[in-house]
Point group: C2
Chain length 504, copies 2
């Protein structure tokens, strides 16, 4: 029994979704609904999809099978093509997930099979969630290692001619922390190879790829990326486009809505990306603070050891830096505002945020320190020299030129409002999570000019009615969402006394 493909203009993200008419000519679709999974076959090629039933013949007729956008794309056939359908054979690897759920430990073969099926879109979102939750409950270091290896091997892998390929990565969670865009030009100007791939924001107000995109093209092919690195020693591109560790992207897409964020998942995510990117030396930034992902030094140490364990096993040099994650870095939160701060630092402008400058110099110094040609202890000074002399800024412009300029910069959001201090006092703390959420509600990163501009930092003296930060939005709904949320909780806490006596 054949059914003809019909494209259903629905974006269902990761998940393959097929739609059958309730009076489908080929079979009774309800028979498959409890299992939810259907196999769609054409000429030896097949996909597995979740099934929805449709009661309106104008959407899907009895002799048709509707495929939502991702399924249609992955099936790769024109509308009207005849396909056959069958009950989906449950991927064997789901049996491994089941044993993991009830407490068994998986071996390399089993983990690899799971990752292969996830990357092949043979898991439903529910099944991916089941795997992640089982891993969040308990994962041995051995399993973590095999998971990292399997993820690294499941997509493209890059190889570079230089013997030393450096990289940096922050575990995330600190708004405005755009150090990569300062570190890469410094390190590249020094002469090390730093082919940086970054992510776009998933639930944060900006990823490095989003912010870099304000200045340059970031969706480069692997070949284009090679050209840029060949000419500039470094690049700042979007990792999603070069398909490094696609399993990571899929898993993160399920972890985020579930708010899962375990040490093991962080390590597998980051290390798999770096292995696939061909890095040999990696500096990892772990910000610690009361509203950061890592709350205290003890937790940071456990995470550091896990990074070191996996790095040692896979032969990657890793250097973990624990940094201050007490508040956002820089002033702007959101792509355009962050790009402004980055360029201010690179251009040594007087008002450039000093925390972004200092943190970037420390990270770049640590990376440069790894250069065998450098004299021990000279990394930081070398980084500062490259920044202060304008070398780094020139390198950034070369990178932008080579990657390709972005179209004329999107403006800052036209709708603005200042969030005011309710009282006199000293800023005692700024909630990183809340600030990120507010910038996101304001429309960042999709509206690149949306976000928050922080006007006060921890330790600053404020008077009642003085602005704490400014909200920028491009659209009324998002503006309203952000204002309403800021009215509920604005993310700033005031204390009665200046903590460090600095004031303003």
């Amino acid at each position: 029994m054949q059914l003809k493909i019909r494209r259903i203009p629905l974006d269902t993200l990761r998940e393959n979704v097929a739609v059958l008419a309730s009076n489908c000519a080929a079979l009774r679709p309800e028979a498959f609904q409890a299992f939810k999974r259907l196999e769609i076959v054409h000429d030896g090629h097949s996909i597995i999809a979740s099934l929805d039933i449709c009661h309106d013949l104008s959407v899907v007729g009895p002799e048709e099978i509707g495929l939502a956008e991702p399924a249609f794309r992955r099936m790769g056939l024109p509308e009207g093509t005849s396909v056959t359908i069958a009950p989906a054979r449950r991927p064997q690897s789901l049996e491994y997930v089941r044993t993991k759920i009830i407490g068994e430990t998986l071996n390399a073969h089993q983990i690899e099979a799971i990752i292969r099926d996830i990357v092949g879109y043979r898991y439903s979102d529910m099944e991916i969630a089941a795997f992640l939750v089982a891993c969040a409950g308990f994962l041995t270091t051995g399993e973590l290692l095999e998971l990292t290896r399997a993820m690294a091997g499941a997509g493209n892998t890059l190889a570079w001619s230089s013997p030393m390929v450096v990289d940096k990565h922050c575990i995330g969670g600190i708004p405005g922390n755009r150090t990569s865009m300062v570190v890469v030009p410094i390190v590249a100007a020094h002469g090390l190879t730093i082919p940086k791939t970054s992510s776009r924001a998933i639930t944060s107000p900006a990823g490095t790829a989003d912010t870099m995109e304000v200045l340059a093209r970031v969706d480069l092919t692997i070949e284009e990326m090679r050209t840029v690195v060949g000419e500039c020693n470094g690049c700042l591109v979007w990792g999603g486009h070069v398909n490094l560790s696609p399993a990571d992207d899929i898993l993160i897409g399920v972890e985020r809505p579930l708010n899962l964020d375990t040490r093991e998942q962080m390590v597998a995510s980051i290390m798999s990306k770096k292995m696939a990117a061909g890095s040999t030396h990696l500096v990892i930034d772990i910000p610690v603070g009361p509203t950061a992902k890592v709350r205290d030094a003890h937790e940071a140490m456990r995470l550091r050891k896990l990074f070191e364990y996996v790095a040692d096993q896979v032969g990657l040099h890793v250097d973990v830096m624990v940094t201050d994650g007490a508040q956002p870095v820089g002033r702007g939160i959101g792509p355009v505002l962050e790009a402004r701060d980055v360029m201010a630092v690179l251009n040594n402008e007087a008002h450039a945020p000093t925390d972004l400058r200092e943190k970037s110099l420390r990270l770049a110094g640590r990376i440069i320190e790894g250069d065998p040609a450098m004299r021990g202890g000279g990394g930081y000074a070398r980084a500062r020299e490259l920044l202060d002399s304008g070398e780094a800024a020139r390198r950034m412009h070369r990178i932008i030129d080579t990657q390709g300029h972005a179209p004329p910069g999107p403006p800052l959001g036209a709708l603005t409002t200042d969030v005011l201090s309710p009282a006199d006092g000293v800023v005692a703390s700024i909630d990183c999570f809340r600030i990120a959420q507010l910038a996101r509600l304001a429309g960042a990163p999709l509206d690149r000019g949306a976000g928050l501009d922080l006007l006060k930092r921890v330790g600053d003296q404020v008077e009642a009615g003085e602005p704490l930060y400014r909200i920028y939005s491009a659209g009324q709904s998002h503006f309203d969402f952000a204002i309403e949320a800021a009215r509920e909780t604005n993310g700033y806490a005031l204390g009665g006394l200046s903590v460090n006596g600095a004031g303003k």
Copy 2:
């Protein structure tokens, strides 16, 4: 910013799904996609929905919000009604799920909040999966008890005037095991109150409600159910219609595709239903066999103790019977075929399957044994007397008359084929799981006349070419699925020797 409701004719089962146009006038829908969750508000009433984005304005326009069938039904407003949308506030109870995932134990308040939100359709399928997997990993008996209580309290509860309300339940997994339809008329004829609610099949080829529906109406209201029990002492109705422990139905709908089937989930599922149904005395059938849900006596004992623990805590008398689950019960698998077997037993026909008769008598005997008016040890004899005398058959007809006759019986599937023995030998085993799967593929229970008729049982002598069972289907696709699957693995294993010397 208001959007107008548009109905999307998609059945998305449990999950609320909303659809926004990619050029939605109110907001950038991609901003919500990573979180997946959206709140739709009208006049103080709101639902939470997962979000899909649509690229075709003929499906959803920029000033509209599409609601798939379940969301449309739960929103309860006509098409064209204006609603506002907002980022969904994450239900507080999801925080409890998160702590459960990382190994903490939940208290009664937390479990109740989770169940309340699940029943309120405030969880996505992924979130329900996360909760179930976390529970499958580890659940204390205290948590199990609170989960059972919360589930029982989350829907309708029935109360009966008689001080003793008996019930029976099988944990499932054995095809053809339709003992309830024999037990209820026997016990009701004896004079005990047995208001039996049963489920429809989810992934099996028939539930008791499906098989009973061949003979009588089963979608009775609570009031109608009371009338039937008042007149007949018992009934055989579909539990779904009277909304007992709706959380159980939702959780099972996620457990099945994930193939989760822990002891704790079985106990919470069954006990919550029975508590809600107002049962005071319950006999539980645990079939044990190599392809049953419970594989050995040790596992059966652990399950029994768990049932007893929860029953004692909630004040329900429970009597657990461990039965032979080595092979299917009766001959027919699928609603029409099973109804035939049940009526043959009740009518004392010569060819009635003796295993179904004997098992039903044992169960009915155990229930009757609980009647204080009975002399100890007389339960089985009394059950047999009621069956042999035709009392039970008459009671069944009275129940059918009072519930309302089914429309003229659907015929057996017109497409039939015999699955033949590949060799001479003795049937060494029959795989319950495979047999159920084949009957399901053949179209049962949706095609009520589809299924399998088993012609050989364990211990029977067979010759090469002799039929093992007959497949019935109503539609060509399902017929083909079943034949192809049976060709791969037919579920029967032959041995060289007659195990019990019984032969034919």
